[in-house]
């Protein structure tokens, strides 16, 4: 397994290099250094001298190959530098935003996983009854609704109408739960339809297996079959579909964080693109790629741990 992991880590290097190169090319295809400088200077009509000063200070006056080699070297050393827009150290921003993003997204992740599996088991348990039919209908309905509607409806019903939760805001420490509950509920419900249907299919696939029939023939109760045998085996595809979501736990959710005022990393990339903050764009893209690669390696490891038939060679 160790050899496999080492090989995967080595594969990651050209991928990261390729992503860095692509980001660099795409960025320079959309904006010239002068445009970037103008965008990041606050003057109404900056002079060419001011533009040149800005470019020199942020390293945009160097030849492109020099810029690229410098950026790539710094990224691989995880030296992200300062934001082009406000000169804030990018690591500070990532450190400050990763906490709230992780709190929110891990809460959504864990709750969504437990809720989805519970509902999937519930529906599978009641398969063939009206609970199953209505449950499936409800899942399709939930899947058909646009994400924004969940946010607006969640804020309107739970925040404004019933007044259970603050509409937006965030405080650290023990009071954080108060601000995280509403986005968590919205995040969980919005993904519930798809997950429940998917997991229900995994579970029903298992329910029709021979070992289940054997257990049933031996007189094992339906509940024990479902929880002790089916769930364990259904966990393999569930694991595959969930571990890949790990990068999102740190990188956050754009819409949830924007609407609920969570100071996470969700909007960092979009804000950076809007303000043409190349320093943040390249750091965020690099970090996102790195976390995605780590997520997939973890998926493979988890797969091998859960399913004894799988060997990582």
């Amino acid at each position: 397994m160790l050899r496999y992991i080492i090989r995967r880590v080595l594969y990651a290097v050209p991928i990261l290099f390729g992503v860095t190169l692509l980001t660099f090319i795409l960025f320079y295809m959309t904006a010239t250094p002068d445009q970037v400088a103008r965008r990041n200077l606050s003057a109404k009509n900056p002079t060419q001298q001011q533009l040149n000063e800005w470019k020199a200070e942020h390293g945009y006056d160097k030849p492109l190959w020099q810029q690229f080699t410098k950026h790539t070297r710094e990224l691989f050393l995880l030296q992200f530098g300062r934001s082009d827009t406000n000169d804030e150290p990018i690591w500070n921003r990532i450190r400050a935003g990763a906490g709230p993003s992780f709190m929110l997204m891990s809460l959504v992740f864990v709750t969504a996983l437990i809720t989805s599996i519970s509902f999937a088991l519930f529906v599978a348990y009641f398969r063939g009854t009206y609970v199953d039919y209505w449950g499936t209908f409800l899942c399709v309905l939930l899947m058909s609704i646009v994400y924004m509607v969940y946010i607006m409806a969640g804020q309107f019903i739970l925040g404004k109408l019933l007044k259970y939760f603050p509409l937006a805001g965030f405080r650290g420490g023990l009071t954080a739960w108060k601000f995280l509950l509403l986005p968590m509920i919205v995040g969980v419900i919005s993904g519930l339809g798809g997950s429940v249907r998917l997991y229900r299919t995994f579970i029903l696939d298992e329910i029709n297996q021979d070992y289940v029939r054997t257990a049933r023939a031996k007189g094992v109760s339906e509940r024990a079959i479902l929880f002790k045998h089916v769930l364990k085996n259904a966990a393999i595809p569930i694991l595959t579909s969930t571990v890949a979501a790990i990068p999102g736990l740190i990188l956050g959710s754009l819409l949830l964080e924007s609407f609920f005022g969570i100071p996470g990393l969700g909007s960092l990339l979009v804000d950076a693109i809007n303000s043409q903050d190349f320093a943040v764009i390249r750091a965020e893209v690099f970090l996102g790629t790195l976390l995605t690669i780590i997520g997939y390696i973890l998926t493979d490891i988890g797969y091998a741990m859960v399913d004894p038939r799988v060997r990582l060679e």
């Binding site: 001011q50 000169d87 009206y130 804020q155 019933l162 009071t175 109760s221």
Partner: protein
């Protein structure tokens, strides 16, 4: 139930004892777990409230405001947007400030200044063509109050803010000349303060050698009084009365070199000032907290205002010390709909009015809607000192030029553009059609003036177009339809609708208007390089003087300067140079009127509108009077905290019945399904038994 239905034939091997034991325990455990979860839910719900602030906090004299996003910088030498200025101007005071209540004209009063500055002629020597020439400039002598102190901060010895001297104000001027400090208004100073241009060039040369800027180099225009640490002088190469306005901008605030040296770039998030407030908390993308600065200098609420201010309750706090609140909390709320809902819940003290909530706020008669009146909300009109306009490229072969035909073409298009229609359709009727560059409240604005080419009249426009050589939009020389290109960056639906309306209005003349959409940075590039025929632009006043608007047509300010049309009329330029150094006198007014008439006939711009916006405030807010230029209202506004806490509690009582109803519905709804499953299990057990028999 499951215990009963378990087949008696089940052997010990089929299910491990521990498993069967655990299942027996499982049911009470599950019930316990369910009960625990329910209890937790009850506790959570009982503790639940939609109040985003700590309990009891809203009863205190605190102002709650919203920010659309984090300010890019709070460095007073760099920050330029209104959002930034709303915070920076409360932390960094200046020599002058605007009178909070007086308008038309705006009145400057002393803030840090101990006395009105003295203006005297100043003779200086300049080298022209290798010969030394003596010229006549002007020197201003300023004296600040004694005993002013910076806020306490670790950058000072012992953490105690030291006394402010005149050197701290001149330090701000020197920061403008530092190439690492991108001061957006350095041009307002560099071409007027004696020696400033040379100082900037010197620092630039140092910067190219990798050295830091020189903060010690003598500059003729920046002089400290060797006998009085509170006096400084600014020598100018020309009389420039607008300097007094610049001394009310945060770029000229006293700055502590200790703070700049200690925090460097972090000064953008760690301001160290001497104003009524100081920053005590900055959580990016979440909140900024300002608290009253214990070292602030004595300031008082104005004792007089405009007619009607006393009746509006704006003088209730007359003579009271400032600030009127102990804290201002800015919450970063990106989405307008969220901010609006927080305002409706009472958790924000003020709100703007957008297209989305306009119907809810304003009745057909233009008054507050009954719903808002019932809540006690008050509406204030915020008339901004700005102008929106369309620009002709004066160097374009089709629309540019100064021949009578070219003038008539531009005049025809100008006469066909109906600003009121734009205001009605896109600004909910808020705004004033512009007749010239100057907005209301600025010296030179004439409410009775009607620009001859800004009175919408399609017939006259067609006549002018025919006289220009394009009858019904057809070029009389070639027989082709005249096509104009409108460069824009309209990517939003509203932006595209505006382009559509402009196209409709201009095409009514028979001209074909083609919209060329670009991304904003490409569009800006096109404007800077003159690669356009026709674009839209806007200008917000830096200071309330006619010069700050009339410079938009001054020839030497050509692209990429503020004169984007590259309009260059020698007579206009001459009058501008004469006007800018004059006080607001009838003679100056006469010059402004002549410039206005010249620009009207040449028609390089189509003046569209001066914006207006609505501000809503909660019933517990006092002393609200939006100022078109000043950004320090936070120190004047007062709060009735107990009233706010009472109304918030009244407006935000949670309703638990729907949640309880939903849980009951789910539980009761599942019972028949449980029965069905039980029956199905029993049937299967019976089948098994029968099979065994």
């Amino acid at each position: 139930m499951l215990e009963i239905s378990r087949p008696p034939a089940m052997s010990a091997e089929t299910i491990k004892p521990c498993a069967s034991q655990s299942r027996r325990l499982c049911i009470p455990c599950a019930r316990l777990l369910l009960l625990a979860l329910l209890a937790l839910l009850v506790i959570l719900l009982s503790g639940c409230s939609n109040n985003p602030y700590p309990p009891g906090q809203t009863a205190r004299p605190i102002l709650y405001r919203a920010l659309g996003d984090d300010p890019r910088t709070l460095d007073p030498s760099v920050s330029y947007t209104i959002t930034e200025a709303n915070i920076v101007d409360l932390i960094y005071p200046t020599y002058f400030r605007y009178h909070y209540l007086k308008r038309d004209p705006f009145v400057l009063e002393l803030a840090l200044g101990a006395e009105q500055p003295k203006r005297e002629p100043y003779l200086y020597t300049e080298t022209e063509n290798g010969r030394k020439v003596q010229k006549r400039g002007e020197i201003w002598t300023f004296r600040i109050k004694k005993g002013l102190r910076f806020q306490d901060d670790p950058c000072f010895p012992g953490g105690k803010g030291r006394e402010i001297t005149a050197a701290d104000i001149l330090y701000s001027f020197r920061r403008m000349a530092d190439p690492t400090v991108p001061c957006p208004v350095v041009n307002y100073f560099s071409d007027k303060i004696l020696g400033m241009d040379a100082y900037i060039a010197h620092n630039l040369a140092l910067s190219k050698q990798g050295k830091k800027a020189d903060y010690q180099m003598p500059v003729e225009g920046l002089q400290l009084d060797p006998h009085d640490p509170y006096t400084f002088r600014i020598a100018l190469n020309q009389p420039y009365p607008q300097l007094r306005y610049l001394m009310a901008m945060h770029f000229t605030t006293p700055q502590a070199h200790e703070a700049v040296e200690k925090y460097g770039k972090e000064l953008a998030r760690h301001p160290v000032g001497s104003g009524p407030f100081m920053l005590t908390e900055y959580v990016p993308k979440s909140r900024i907290v300002l608290e009253a600065n214990p070292n602030r200098f004595a300031e008082f609420y104005p004792t007089e205002g405009m007619p009607g201010d006393a009746e509006a309750g704006l003088l209730q706090d007359a003579g009271q010390p400032l600030p009127r609140v102990e804290k201002i909390i800015y919450s970063t709320i990106k989405e307008g709909v969220t901010a609006w809902n927080l305002f409706l819940q009472g958790y924000l003290d003020s709100s703007g009015v957008s297209q989305e909530n306009f119907q809810q706020v304003v009745s057909r008669a233009g008054q507050l809607s009954p719903e808002m009146k019932r809540r006690g909300v008050r509406m204030h009109r915020d008339v901004s000192a700005n102008i929106g306009y369309l620009i002709f490229n004066m160097e374009d072969p089709v629309v540019g030029g100064y021949t009578p035909q070219k003038r008539k073409l531009r005049q025809a298009i100008s006469t066909a553009v109906n600003s009121q229609e734009f205001i009605d359709l896109f600004s909910q009727g808020l705004g004033k059609p512009a007749e010239f560059l100057l907005p209301p409240g600025i010296f030179g604005y004439d409410p009775s003036y009607k620009n001859p080419y800004r009175q919408y009249n399609l017939d006259r426009a067609k006549q002018l177009l025919a006289e220009a050589g394009y009858p019904n939009g057809i070029d009389s020389k070639t027989g082709d339809r005249l096509t104009l290109y409108y460069d824009n960056a309209a990517v939003t639906p509203a932006g595209r609708q505006q382009v559509g309306l402009l196209t409709k209005q201009i095409e009514a003349l028979g001209i074909h208007l083609e919209s060329r959409v670009s991304r904003p940075n490409i569009w800006q590039d096109k404007v800077d390089h003159g690669q356009f025929q026709f674009v839209q632009y806007g200008w917000i006043a830096d200071y309330p003087d006619a010069e700050n608007f009339l410079l938009l047509l001054y020839g030497p300010n050509r692209r990429p300067g503020p004169n984007a049309s590259n309009y260059n009329n020698p007579e206009y330029n001459r009058l501008f140079e004469q006007m800018r150094s004059m006080e607001d006198t009838p003679a100056r007014l006469a010059l402004i009127k002549r410039m206005r008439d010249i620009a009207a006939e040449d028609c390089p711009l189509i003046y569209l509108s001066h914006d207006e916006s609505l501000v809503l405030t909660q019933p517990w807010l006092k002393n609200v009077k939006p100022h078109p230029v000043a950004n320090d209202s936070g120190k004047y506004v007062g709060v009735d905290g107990p009233l706010r806490a009472r109304l918030q509690a009244q407006w935000n009582r949670p309703n638990y019945w729907p949640a309880i109803g939903l849980v009951l519905f789910l539980v009761i709804g599942s019972i028949p399904a449980a029965n069905l499953v039980r029956q199905r299990t029993n049937r299967s057990v019976r089948r098994n038994r029968e099979a065994r028999r």
